[in-house]
Amino acid sequence: MPWLTAVIFLPLIGVPVLLLWRGMTDAQARWLALVLMVADLIVAFGVLGAFDAALSGYQLVEQVDWVASVGLSYLVGIDGFSVWLVVLTAFMFPVGLIASWGTTHRVRAFMALSLLLETVVIGSFCALDLLLFFVFFEALLVPMFLIIGVWGSARRVYASLKFFLYTMLGSAFILVSTLYLWFQTSEQLGRGSFDIRQMEQLSLDVSVQRWLFVAFFVGFAVKVPIFPLHTWLPDAHTEAPTKGSIVLAALLLKAGPYGILRFNLDLFPEASKYFADAIGVLAVIGIVYGAVVAMMQSDVKRLVAYSSVSHMGFVILGIFTLTTEGMSGAVVQMVNHGLSTGLLFFAIGMLYERTHTREMGEMGGLARVTPWIAATFLVATLSSIGLPGLNNFVGEFLVILGAFGADRWLGALAVTGVVLGAVYMLWAYQRTFQGPSTERSRNLTDMLPREWAAVVPVVAAMLVIGVYPKVVLERVNPTTDGAVRWVDSVEIDQAGLPGGLRAEVQPEYRPPAGAVAASGAEEVAP
């Protein structure tokens, strides 16, 4: 069965129906979207079932010529980096839909865009053809732009334009580099191709490799976002409707680190090592900066948005420790951040629907009025600050472990991010839910059945990962192992590997500080 094609395109079926059937009522539109998303989730579990945890290469690969004359193909496949992201996407979309269930403004269009967005997000996690990836990656800007711009709050137009242009500028560099790589495949392999498995075999000049690495990295760094390219994020996250914030935080931010894992490490191993230290420093700056700025926010949504900058810093730090622990931690952390931040935005959305404010100063005492919303927020908070037993602990632990292995100063600084995280998140909880009640926080309804239906699965997933992370890690580790070995191979074994780049490592090249050899992936899981 073409699992990946099914999981990518199933949601798309609803789009023409929603756009063309004018007589459809709002309720029908919502249910149609929900049914398709849940069906897609079931297919995503099918993908998970068909995925062989023991393998490190690409699986469930499907390839169909698209434009044969230029070597462009519809080529999809997954490995340990992407399998969980596919499942996470299919999981968070229905959650986000439930969060925005109450939307009454142009419901059909909203549902159509949501379904379209799901297709392109899953597609970008599955594409193994570089141009196909770019198509999905670029196409996701449009529905997201419209979702923020049409259904967002006061400054939505500014935020949506900023989001679009920032990301598009970043991906411009990716496009040119992609075309350059394509040109190289036609020169070196005799036939132009966008297949990344072909591109791996290119032998590129070291300096060219580094330039291309930078181009790809900048493109993805905007998406992550990595300090100092993060300024679109607080605006976009804050102004987006709840559904949009959940999708942005839980899924779109993952496209950045995913792209780095998939393309930067794979295509430019030498440059990845060369730049690892510098990027590690940027990541740590992001961790601390995001945390400090988050502490100063009075708008709870903005606070969570800045916390994302901090958390994504951990992901990037983990990747560029170039150790199995760090990288596996980063992948797990991508999933975790999706769950916990998604849940935080969900809780904030519930509050906003009831209090019509995001200012923490205007809330307060909500724990007495809406105890279950408070509980949801608290679970998400505790997860977000890395309480053992909940999901984030595993990822952060592994990343910091990896970071200490690579450079103990970076590790130490990263830990301050964890501490600060606890400060601002608990403080936010306190300001919102405890203390004296304000005018706005009286006579509110607690969680509705539909909200329960969204919250329970997310919390359950958080607990499972927190208590038994092996479920996730055993599918991730073989791939990270492979990636670490691939990057390490650049200097360790110059002979016997394909391509000339390994022979051309320049004299001034210095190995990243204490890159730990890929050892014992099984023991990584605590």
Binding site: D65, F136, A172, V176, F183
Partner: protein, 482 residues
């Protein structure tokens, strides 16, 4: 053995049909003053369809590569360009009919003029002699000067005057270039010039001057910076239906001639003209994208965007030869469909005449007329080069051609300019969907033109998702015969 020159008119049958039908339509319109305009429209469309059918049969032309004493080339390149032009003409006729009937300015000459212009555009695609290129250029230009001033509005007349003066100016440059080329090589036939230039290492001054002058002439017609000044004024002033036809047809035709002249005649000078095209491309892309940001009128904005698009086509052409030609042809197909669709929406939003072309009148269009707003959004995304539209594939095509030719810096300029360009396209989308309408304003919801726009939109999507449908043909068409 002496062979008598055969007069083989096969390869110009499409032009003969067009001109014949144009003459008939013109006479019928003059003699029978009470003739139903719809009948003229059907007659003209039949002529266009006939010409298209005649072009398609030329795909497998197995006669001589050039006919009529070497002045007309019979190659697949000509077939593809003709089909693009004829498609634009068909849409232009339907728009024009609708536009002028609605504004009450309909006159029977309209159909004949569009057909004459079209015959010039198709002829230029196969012209293999500089004199014929010039003649075809004049045929299409003269008809368009009149069409631009077809409405009695002051703006329209002014546009026609500007277009005429600057167009005549550029024709003079072009003709001067032809003279220089003749002076340098003793021939005006594209192939003969090329053969004469091949292998020459000295005495190229005249030839290079000719190249520069021809380039200026073409740059005027395709509206490449710095020869673009007329474009915004004419596009804005001309009746929207005519602007649509002009923006697609003229550009395709002029680029077709440019491709043939540069890749055949000036092929020996490739290393000299590539930097020239590089500079024109960079300037057009940057200036078009940046200046469009400051516009407050949608027709003017689209005019600047068409300048930028000329730059993108030129970007592809920096790769001399088949790669460049095939990428440019795809770009022209995508651009024609998109710009015709976009101007179609502009025409429908104006409802009658030129009443509402300011950007402000698009405020809240998504609420008032969701279908038109949705279609325009698709066209704008295609112009911006966002997947999965034809515009995206087209941009990838020209950028990869440029990269392949080593002009990756130009590709980088192009993609960055695309981001700047995205801003003003998005601004229209913002106005349409993210602002509330200020009052109820009528839009034209007539079925036929809306259907035409819908077909253009569907084509933009289909070509964006399945570019392979035409790419195979384009690769074959990119081989110029002489």
């Amino acid at each position: 053995m002496i062979r008598t020159p055969a007069v083989d008119v096969g390869p110009i049958v499409p032009e003969l049909i067009l001109v014949g039908v144009a003459v008939v339509v013109l006479l019928v319109g003059v003699i029978a003053r009470r003739v139903e305009p719809l009948a003229l429209l059907y007659g003209s469309l039949a002529g266009v369809a006939g010409a298209a059918a005649a072009s398609i049969t030329l795909w497998d032309w197995d006669g001589a590569p050039t006919v009529l004493a070497g002045t007309v080339a019979a190659d697949r390149f000509g077939v593809v360009v003709r089909l693009i032009v004829l498609g634009s003409a068909a849409i232009g006729l339907i728009y024009g009919h609708h536009y002028f009937e609605r504004s009450g300015e309909g006159r029977p000459e309209l159909y004949a003029l569009v057909l004459f212009a079209t015959s010039g555009m198709t002829l230029i695609a196969v012209a293999a002699d500089l004199i014929l290129v010039f003649l075809a250029l004049e045929i299409l230009s003269l008809a368009l000067y009149v069409l631009a001033g077809f409405s009695a509005r002051l703006g329209s007349v002014e546009a026609a005057m500007k277009y005429f003066l600057l167009g005549a100016f550029s024709s003079a440059f072009f003709l001067f270039g032809v003279a220089m080329a003749y002076g340098a090589t003793g021939s005006t036939r594209l192939v003969a010039i090329s053969e004469s230039l091949a292998g020459r290492t000295s005495g190229l001054a005249l030839a290079l001057t000719a190249m520069g002058l021809l380039a200026i002439g073409f740059a005027f017609k395709v509206s490449a910076v710095p020869f673009h000044m007329w474009t915004p004024d004419v596009y804005q002033g001309a009746p929207t239906a005519i602007t649509a036809f002009m923006s697609a047809g003229t550009k395709v035709a002029a680029f077709a001639a440019l491709m043939r002249v540069f890749n055949v005649t000036l092929q020996p000078l490739t290393w000299d003209w590539r930097p020239l095209v590089w500079v024109l491309a960079a300037l057009s892309v940057i200036a078009g994208s940046v200046l469009a940001i400051a516009q407050t009128d949608i027709k003017r904005m689209l005019a600047y965007s068409s300048i930028a698009h000329a730059g993108f086509v030129l970007t592809g052409l920096t790769a001399a030869g088949e790669t460049g030609i095939s990428s440019a042809l795809y770009y022209l197909i995508a651009y024609s469909l998109t710009i015709l669709g976009a101007f179609g929406v502009v025409m429908l939003v104006s409802a009658r005449g030129e009443r509402r072309t300011s950007l402000a009148s698009y405020t809240g269009l998504g609420r008032r007329s969701p279908v038109l707003a949705g279609l325009l959004t698709l066209f704008l995304l295609s112009l911006a080069g966002i997947p999965p539209t034809a515009g995206f594939i087209a941009k990838v095509g020209v950028f990869s051609a440029a990269t392949e030719a080593g002009a990756w810096a130009l590709a980088l300029i192009g993609v960055i300019a695309s981001v700047a360009a995205a801003f003003f396209y998005l601004r229209v989308i913002v106005l349409m969907f993210m602002r509330e309408p200020e009052g109820e304003e009528e839009t034209d919801e007539t079925l036929v033109p809306k259907l035409v726009v819908g077909v253009a939109a569907a084509s933009v999507l289909v070509l964006g998702v399945f570019p392979g449908l035409v790419l195979g043909f384009l690769d074959q068409a990119a081989v110029l015969r002489w």
